[in-house]
Amino acid sequence: MNGWVGRCLRVNLTEGKHSIEELVPESREKFLGGRGLGVKVYADEVPPQTDPLSPDNKLIFSSGPLVGTGAVTGASCNVVTKSSLSGTIACAKMRGHFGAEMKYAGFDMIIVEGKAESPVILSIMDDKIRLVSALEYWGRSTSETEDRFKASLGDQWTARETFLATIGPAGERLLPIANIVNDRFLSVGGAGIGAVMGSKNLKAVAVKGQHSLEVSDGNRFVQVVNTMINKLNSSPLTSQSMTQWGTAFLVGLCYPKKILPNNNFLQASVSLKNLGTDALESAFALRSRGCFACPVACIKKTEMKHHIYEGKGMVPTYLAIGSLGLNCGISDLSTIGTASMLCAEAGLDPVAAGGTLATAMELVEKKVTTKDELKIDLQFGNDNSLLEALQLISTKKGHAKRMGQGAKALAESFERPDLFMGVKGMSMAPFDPRAIQGMGLHFATCNYGPHHLYGYTFIDELLGVNENLDPLTTEGKPALVKLYQDTTAVMDSLGLCNWPLMGLKFKNFVPLINSCLGTNYTADDLLSIGERVWNAERLFNVKAGIDGSHDKLPARFTEEPISCGNGEGQVSMVNEMLPEYYSLRGWSGQGVPLAETLKTLELEDS
């Protein structure tokens, strides 16, 4: 079957039944797999107006055709559903080993429908598909659920080969800022999906299997992989920076350029000296952990020693340092590490949780509310109150309950919607759109909210890998944004991780894809598949009522200039860039795909 298993598992939790279906070859050609095929199946089956938390909503786990074949960085599985935070389509990325094991278990895709009467775990082990009662796991943290489930399997060998994707207490309580955590502590990139899983009473999905995956031309494939490993090794970014420190190395690069936001994007000054790579190494003993078939291994694990969280844990990534750290005015790595572990254990999305707390802190600073009213001494830079609030949010108690609804709901409940820093209801990833224009445009237009993992423009704007672009200019940025959005969409559809684009060009992946799948794609063919996926997502959003009028950055970025230092006086030029971006995409002035665009992309507008 060349890469694909060719099978899809459909589980109806209401009836407790499952069926195995074949993946339609035609949709596989048009959408590849992973994110693309997930979006296609989802949009075909679920009406756009569906309430995300109703049993009518579906949750799709979809691995790409290259996952598990040994293709370099072929590990990613996408979770597709309608986000309960933003109401848009969600296509959250899962790293680690779950995606590959899902394919060895015999499925490219798992579609979960309906709602179980009581909590269950979907267990797919060696071709035995069962719904196991999860009453004893309900309420438990993600790692505890994983440990207990594995212990229940009887022997250490089975336990080692089983991989889980689970929700924590936050997802069970249907908090919109909850997400899914897999392979112990790996947060799936994106909020709004944990609550969907919780609303189905599905605590976890466990996979294990021994199906074989076929590669079209094994000899050529092995050679291509060898070449790619060598290429990754010859680039300093993928062979040194990422390998040594993970994405946290970006902190030192983004900070002086004012790209790394602090204090809810207010641009106050916080010292960097405690946050660089040296600080990271002295704060934690780093040990690399690789996702499936990844020569880079950017995930760093460590032993955490904090009075609130002790034991095995993860070193904070750029995302955690930005969202849970600097954006809340906190520069102590040990606190940030603990905060990100609290998020992983409770199943909270670090970006959404960090964004919510930063908004709450600004509400206090602007005297809109007081610490007495919030019952937590939340203020920028207060380490203990950040950790306390994170623990309270997932328990849904008192005022923390309001925070669990996300930054937008919190800001609106105090009648200060202007203090919500995000787009389409989702908090912004830690990149300041004023200091990095292309990323700002991507944040405004991304179908799934402002997340850098869906358009890696910083690879050129900040790191200058393919072209050395000035982050402050707008020239050529709409085309750059479109290129990276399409690239990301097709890489996700194949199941490849996007971070290697720091050391490899997209065209380097083409022989890998062809030798694995037995196809004759050119780079342009693949990018047009990416464009098709991007448009399919946009189409779903438009039908769900989220069109171009939601492609808007908060007023702070277009009205309040950077106060000092690099890029002083600069605001985000997003509104100036939007018309060019829409026309490049073949969309109307309202951000809706035009009929002829859909025709060229072979997307039928039904």
Binding site: G68, T69, G70, H97, Y104, Q156, W157, T158, R160, E161, Q210, H211, S212, L213, E214, V215, S216, D217, G218, F221, V222, V225, N226, I229, L232, N233, R287, S288, R289, G290, C291, F292, A293, C294, P295, V296, A297, K301, E303, K312
Partner: protein, 124 residues
């Protein structure tokens, strides 16, 4: 004689070696269960283990091994294709698998794909 040196401290658990082995031994097939090298995971560490024959001597001389302050049962990373564990045995045929030091010269396939230096070809 060249040998494969294993440095577990460098292993990231990415399992690329397993697939390299599988692709090299079974034409066009990727499946860790058909590999002659497996990554055994324990606590916070990963141990690459090359498969070997199943002999009684290994079991009778079994003892606890201490690594980094942890005590392990020797079975946890034993290379034998023994009936006690589902590793190193072809699922369909039940044939035991054994590392044959394969590969495109100058290195076995697992070593070529191991990017961290956990597997290394050394001359004795």
């Amino acid at each position: 004689m060249p040998r494969i040196k294993v440095d577990h401290a460098k292993c990231t658990g990415c399992r690329h070696c397993e697939i390299a082995c599988s692709l090299n031994h079974v034409a066009n097939t990727a499946n860790p269960r058909r590999a002659r090298i497996r990554i055994m995971k324990d606590e916070n560490r990963y141990y690459p283990v090359l498969s070997g024959p199943f002999v009684d001597a290994a079991c009778t001389s079994k003892q606890l091994i201490e690594i980094g302050g942890h005590k392990y049962d020797m079975c946890a990373f034993c290379r034998a294709s023994c009936p006690e564990k589902p590793y190193f045995i072809e699922a369909e045929t039940g044939i035991p698998l054994k590392c044959d030091f394969c590969g495109i010269p100058p290195a076995p396939s697992c070593v070529r794909w191991c990017n961290t230096g956990a597997l290394e070809l050394v001359e004795d």
